[in-house]
Amino acid sequence: MSKLMTMKDAIDRFVHDGDTIVIEGFTHLICFAAGHEIIRQRRRDLTLCRLTPDLIYDQLIGAGCVRRLVFSWAGNPGAGPLHALRRAVEQGVPNSIELEEYSHFGMVARLSAGAAKLPFYPLRDYKGSDLPRVNPQIKTVVCPFTGEELAAVPALNPDTAIIHVQRADGNGNAHVWGLMGVQKEAAFASRRTIVVAEEIVSESAIRSDPNRTLIPGLIVDAVVHEPFGCHPSYAQGYYDRDNDFYVGWREISQDVEKFNAYLDEWIYGVRDRSEYVARMGTAFTRLKASERLSDPVNYGY
């Protein structure tokens, strides 16, 4: 059964005011197309989870969609701070947000527990750090076998995960290569999953290389076909990260007027991702990935 639908319908059906949402992808495969659609549909009071909030959550926070942020590293990678996030935290503009922070390992552990439907995850971490002092969710547990004291973090089970992939079939079986971050854990931990794909392929294409399937269709609720859906993030083998955009974001996000002008032009001012891509024009040509094919493997027996 095909789960294909438009991004507009997927967000309308699976992202509601007050929901807890995870849009994952560590630098790679960050689904900006979904973030922009959430902003266009003016969702409010979201709890957003992500290891690295990145520009995508900076945009959602500055657009007023967010009430709470669960994260582990909030910066513009390689280019300074996230200014909309800082405005919200330091000045309450456009609204103040609550922060719940961990380290990367803590966030990975939370989603792993969530995916395995365990109540918590133990890890050797946080001893001597001030993080447990400001986040009471970071606790300790004593190992029943060795008596060792370990850190423990609670399971994270978001309402909806949004995962961008290179290719998927209509049922949501999804191939991913390159950096995989915590996408698999995030998808299994969430109650619903939206898969967004650069390409829609046949089930037989998926079956030709089953080791590459990161997300199985059986946990997927919606499949959206959205080429260039990650820009300014990247998709290995499709297009490079737009580092100039990331560096340029500093100037846009530092100034509320410039930030709002950006939203007006690139988010509210376009109907959907295909209009955004059309407006980008030939900019994508410079980002097009070079070809580096892997050696094929034999799945025969």
């Binding site: 560590f26 990367h104 050797r124 995989m180 915590v182």
Partner: protein, 232 residues
């Protein structure tokens, strides 16, 4: 005639020299990334670079601007999930060296990348831990590269993000090593003075009896660094 070099170039060389061949190093972006790739091209060709994004045995053909750059994937030995990176590689005890940076580092080796001022009402909100807290606790040796100012070198940090006890801290003025329970100046960079060090340290810094002069970058080191920065 000594070749001209910048403070950053000296910091990169000093960090690279601490890395041994065959070691596994958890790499950060910026100067640590250049230091690790310098070591790989000179004395440590079998250094295994691991990035927290999941690239293992990375061999980047350009200088990655972010820790999740696609060039870390192309030609790497393995790409794994972040679950594997933190559970199996880092907590599993496979990481010999971790590099950390910080807005503040204190006398006791603690690093702060969370807030300047109070946590709830911060003067400046910084990015937070990322992988730093667990790298500090789980890598066998930790190196810190950081420019040194009085504000960034306080007696105690405003917030302990990462309790590090680093094997070495390399700044633009000198190198510090952990002796008993605090950082001690063990070498000073050419052209820098003890007065400069004192002016830029927030505590009465101890100075090693056998204080050395940091070896300046060699011509070979400089040419590799410049080649990486300008041509990669």
């Amino acid at each position: 005639m000594a070749t001209e070099f910048t403070a950053s170039e000296l910091m990169i060389c000093q960090a690279a020299r601490q890395l041994r061949d065959d070691e596994v190093v958890f790499v950060g972006i910026g100067l640590p990334n250049i230091a690790c790739n310098l070591a790989r091209r000179l004395h440590a060709p079998d250094l295994v670079l691991i990035y927290e994004s999941g690239a293992v045995g990375a061999a980047p053909a350009r200088l990655p601007i972010s820790i999740g750059d696609p060039s870390l994937v192309t030609d790497s030995l393995s790409v794994c999930s972040m679950f594997d990176v933190f559970n199996f590689y880092l907590q599993g005890g496979l990481v010999d060296v971790g590099f950390l940076q910080g807005a503040q580092i204190d006398r006791f080796g603690n690093l702060n990348t969370t807030v300047i001022g109070d946590y709830v009402h911060p003067k400046v909100r910084l990015p937070g831990s990322g992988g730093a807290c667990e790298i500090a606790l789980l890598a066998k040796r930790v190196f810190v590269i950081a420019p040194q100012r009085k504000r960034s070198f306080p007696e105690r940090v405003d917030f302990i993000t990462s309790p590090a006890r680093p094997a070495m801290v390399v700044t633009d003025l000198g190198c510090y090593e952990f002796v008993e329970d605090e950082l001690v100046l063990t070498s000073i960079h050419p052209g820098c003075t003890i007065e400069q060090v004192r002016e830029n340290t927030g505590w009465e810094v101890a100075i090693a009896e056998n204080l050395k002069l940091t070896q300046p970058p060699t011509t070979e080191e400089l040419s590799v660094i410049r080649d990486m920065i300008y041509k990669m």
